[in-house]
């Protein structure tokens, strides 16, 4: 950890020699505030924005470090954007930086969300508000259907038609007909993926996991 921090220090010093702590935290906040407010379509689509701020704008990391961090974030479950914000915030400004960057990414939009939805539900009994709520349902359905197709075609790219369709049918069986909690299904798949021997890896990059 220490060596990593030292490796980072020169880049910060080079850019701005007498950067005080509050300034650094201010920059962190502003960088991730922009990421949160400008990233549409969820966390993964805001990764290019994080890259722009962190690598190009503030130069907290170079391209390789950023790539490593992204790969690292992908080894763990959960939202991507907050993991990136938290980790980069931690590297730049310690625990305060971590909390600062995560807060800047998520709090502004949560505020908007609560304000808009609670004001919408105060007028819930109005007929035109009911109409608005109703019209939005099929539109979200379309967005989900598009997302469904994206997930399936990405699976198809890695597993092939046969593998993907077998897993799709097995998932439908388990979740819809046997009533197994989707979390259990996913957990079993994660374990299976983890303990499976790396057959192809042996040829390409031998000894990597051994």
């Amino acid at each position: 950890m220490e060596s990593r921090k030292e490796a980072l220090e020169p880049t910060i010093k080079n850019r701005s020699p007498k950067l005080s702590l509050p300034q650094k935290q201010g920059q962190l906040f502003w960088a991730f505030f922009k990421v949160g407010m400008l990233g549409y379509g969820g966390g993964p689509s805001s990764i290019p924005l994080v890259h722009k701020e962190v690598v190009e704008n503030y130069k907290w990391m170079n391209d390789d470090e950023f790539g490593d961090t992204l790969a690292l974030a992908n080894t763990l479950p959960g939202p991507i954007a907050t993991k990136m914000a938290g980790y980069i915030g931690y590297k730049v400004g310690g625990i305060t930086g971590l909390i600062n960057a995560v807060a800047a990414t998520i709090i502004p939009t949560i505020f908007l969300m609560v304000i808009l939805l609670t004001s919408l539900s105060t007028f819930k009994d109005q007929q035109w508000v009911a109409g608005m709520a109703q019209a939005v349902v099929p539109v979200v359905g379309v967005m989900l259907a598009v997302l469904t197709w994206q997930f399936f075609s990405k699976a198809k790219g890695g597993l092939g038609w046969t593998g993907s369709i077998i897993l799709v049918l097995a998932s439908i069986m388990a979740i819809e007909f046997l009533g197994i909690h989707p979390g259990v299904v996913i957990f079993v798949l994660l374990v299976a993926a983890f303990i499976k021997k790396d057959k192809e890896a042996g040829n390409e990059k031998s000894g990597e996991t051994s």
Binding site: N74, T105, M132
Partner: protein
């Protein structure tokens, strides 16, 4: 204990949603609608619509709002914490170990293996939304909204926020009894 329930409802999707926030949407729906019954499919779709119309990460917006609905400000904090903290803490703490697995084919395979399941969950949600719209707004309106929003989003690449705003306006006028 509502805070414990909120924690569980967002901890499970957070820890199982491999591949970022959108993968955890159907898992959140499973907890919030099916398990705890805090909202029905329609209400969930409103939250999701608003989440899609606003910028920023999806999972934390949903956790923040649903947590707030159920348990006020503290509920929102619990929901967001349960979504964000476990994986973030692991990332900072397990840095060294994770570094070894970073380029391991296992990691790619884990994301890959659960994709078909996530696709099924998302597909089921889409079906539920279409069904609920058919029951509420009728076949003609539902079909029109599906075709129109699909063309706008995918063919003409209109920003989702505008499509949702358009749908809200359309609904207020044509489904809300103004005409």
């Amino acid at each position: 204990m509502i805070y414990w329930q909120i924690f569980l409802a967002f901890f499970i999707p957070g820890i199982l949603g491999y591949g970022g926030g959108p993968a955890s949407i159907p898992l959140v729906e499973n907890e919030v609608v099916d398990r705890f019954g805090w909202m029905n499919v329609n209400e969930f779709s409103e939250v999701l619509a608003m989440g899609n119309a606003l910028p920023g990460p999806i999972a934390t917006k949903m956790a923040g709002y649903i947590g707030f609905e159920q348990g006020g400000v503290l509920g929102a904090i619990v929901g967001v914490f349960a979504t964000v903290a476990p994986s973030l803490i692991l990332m900072v703490v397990l840095l060294g170990i994770l570094y070894k697995f970073k380029d391991s084919p296992k990691v790619k395979r884990m994301t890959l293996f659960i994709r078909p399941t996530i696709a099924v969950l998302l597909g089921v949600m889409a079906y539920e939304f279409f069904k609920s719209s058919y029951e509420g707004a009728g076949l003609l309106q539902t079909a029109f909204l599906i075709v129109a929003s699909y063309l706008l989003l995918e063919r003409f690449k209109v920003h989702p926020a505008f499509v949702i705003m358009g749908a809200l306006g359309y609904g207020a006028v044509f489904l809300g009894g103004i005409i």
